[in-house]
């Protein structure tokens, strides 16, 4: 089994998995029918992506692991998503800020992953990028609306951006697996995405009359499976059925 490639795929897919799960919590509870539909749709896209990645990972694993085993039967320390995507839906400003701060990265990442020498990954990236560019349009529109909306919404959005900023740097943190995959021409060198990312994010914040935070203190750990306390609770729900009724088909 290609251990590095397997882990690399999980590192990518876990972001979509956990973010999709977070968005799924909101279905039926959005501030309007249109946003409800949009958030559900983004969740749907993300889980679709997760399936493509994990089906590929299962093939690489080459044992009897299925996409569902990979998604739902790992221990809390084995999830590789960045801390950003596991942050809770504190309010709609947080949900949109989290989405935006991830989407800008995700879009840039997929643009590079399309060039992967691994043809399956490049094909998945090619399929996903269309969806993600819609996500990014949606979330950046909401940054603008809330940033340049009312005083209340501006304050809430600024608070959300400030609160989540500490999790942005991790997106560009390279693991050993990442490095190995970059060397093989399979993986994306995320360190190279950083400048463009912050430029793009700042541009949208500017337009939205929001401040780009100046803090240089960042959190990391998700890529090594050291998560915030929020993830554990998310996993209790994500894994509930698979854990409670093991080895069954649904």
């Amino acid at each position: 089994m290609k251990e590095n490639l397997y882990n690399y795929i999980l590192g990518i897919a876990d972001n979509s998995l956990i973010l999709g799960q977070r968005l799924g919590e909101l279905t039926g509870h959005g501030p309007s029918l249109e946003t409800d539909i949009a958030c559900t749709n983004i969740s749907l896209d993300l889980f679709g992506q997760v399936r493509s990645y994990f089906q590929y990972a299962a093939k690489i694993a080459g044992d009897d692991r299925t996409e569902d085993d990979i998604a739902m039967l790992r221990k809390e320390r084995e999830y590789k998503n960045v801390l950003l995507v596991e942050q809770p839906n504190t309010n709609f400003a947080y949900t949109m800020a989290r989405q935006f701060l991830f989407d800008v990265y995700h879009l840039a990442f997929l643009a590079e992953l399309q060039k992967s020498t691994d043809l399956t990954l490049s094909a998945i990236a090619n399929k996903c990028i269309k969806e993600v560019s819609y996500h990014e349009r949606f979330s950046s529109d909401w940054i603008r609306r809330l940033g340049d909306g009312t005083e209340e919404s501006k304050a809430k959005m600024q608070e959300a951006i400030d609160g989540l900023w500490t999790y942005t740097d991790e997106l560009f943190h390279q693991t050993e697996t990442d490095k190995a995959m970059v060397t093989e021409g399979i993986g994306v060198d995320v360190t190279k995405l950083k400048d463009t990312y912050y430029t793009r994010v700042s541009a949208v914040l500017d337009e939205s009359t929001l401040e780009t935070p100046e803090s240089k203190w960042f959190q990391k750990g998700g890529k090594e499976g050291i998560h915030t306390e929020h993830l554990g609770y998310l996993l209790t729900e994500l894994q509930y059925m698979q854990r409670t009724y093991p080895n069954m088909e649904w």
Binding site: P31, L33, T35, L146, G149, Y245
Partner: protein, 315 residues
């Protein structure tokens, strides 16, 4: 307009409907027609929106990625149905905000079935199979109803609903053919959802109001009891096919009627739930009102932003 003129218009209007012509938003229509349609369509829209909650309840806990994706898509479709139906109401001059207000204040009703809790994964199967199944039986005739926007919305809704119904049945089939614990789960869900699904088709004809007028306007084409019989006759063989037992000791094939006889429905329970005292009425309203109130600042911001943008574009 003189009374005679109005009478004249009314006669022409009824004649159009009798000829199966569609009434469109800009056409003249009797006030009662308008009101009745707003009531029925908005009730239907509210049911879609409230109906997202019992299913939304299992999104984070769906047992497989495939099922999670399907469930998300289904709940999203329901939101979409809500959207068309509220739009159809808007063609009759009532805003979505007004309709929400009616829902949140308890003035407007929604389908009582959504006041039952979804407590196991099998409920996702039972809801799709039985609840969407009963809904389709209610709704298919409405594809030919007299009011154009409603009829067109229903065509789309019914197409998606029957997909959902098959999907629900497939969940049940998988469980029924699964391990003993899965089969038990399926049977238990059927036990809990069967009677409320029968109630979904409305009170017995004796108790039902509005029916005659609605028949004329093609807002209703069969009586509640006929629809219920149709639902039972359609569903019982499906249950047999997957080896589940309908929880009705009085259920029996009637050779003469070529239809199933069935046991007595607990109408006390039906009215308790309709009157707001079902297992989840309060929770459902709390969720809807909560989402609406918590979302107010978001909607205000979106409005303020749109206004600013427009102002900027003008200068």
């Amino acid at each position: 307009m003189s009374e005679e003129q109005i009478k004249n218009l009314e006669e022409q209007f009824e004649a159009r409907i009798a000829r199966d012509e569609k009434i469109e938003p800009k056409d003249w229509m009797p006030e009662k027609y308008r009101k009745t349609h707003i009531r029925q369509m908005s009730q239907h829209a509210h049911s879609e929106i409230v109906g997202m909650l019992p299913e939304g309840n299992w999104i984070t806990r769906a047992p497989s990625l495939r099922r999670k994706v399907a469930l998300l898509a289904k709940v999203q479709d329901e939101a979409g149905h809500g959207l068309y139906l509220y739009s159809a109401c808007e063609t009759l001059g009532v805003s979505r905000d007004e309709l929400y207000e009616q829902l949140h204040s308890g003035k407007a009703k929604y389908s009582s079935i959504f006041n039952y809790p979804t407590i196991t994964w099998a409920d996702m199967g039972a809801v799709g199979w039985l609840v969407d199944g009963a809904a389709i039986i209610n709704q298919v005739p409405l594809c030919n109803t007299s009011y154009g926007p409603y009829a067109r919305a229903m065509v789309r809704v019914c197409k998606e609903e029957s997909f959902h119904q098959r999907q629900g049945f497939e969940i049940m089939m998988k469980l029924a053919n699964g391990t003993p614990v899965q089969k038990d789960m399926a049977q238990d869900a059927l036990n809990r959802w069967w009677w409320p699904s029968l109630m979904m088709l409305g009170p017995t004809d004796a108790e039902s109001i509005h029916t005659e007028q609605s028949m004329k306007w093609k807002l209703k084409r069969k009586s509640n009891d006929d629809l219920r019989q149709q639902f039972i006759d359609q569903t019982v063989p499906q249950a047999e096919l997957i080896g589940l037992a309908i929880p009705d000791p009085d259920l029996k094939w009637n050779e003469e009627r070529q239809s199933y006889d069935f046991g007595e429905i607990n109408w006390d329970e039906f009215w308790q739930v309709v009157k707001g005292h079902g297992p989840c009425n309060k929770e459902r309203m709390k969720a809807r009102v909560g989402a609406w109130e918590e979302g107010e600042w978001v909607r205000d911001a979106a409005m303020a932003y749109a206004e600013k943008k427009q102002a900027r574009n003008k200068t």
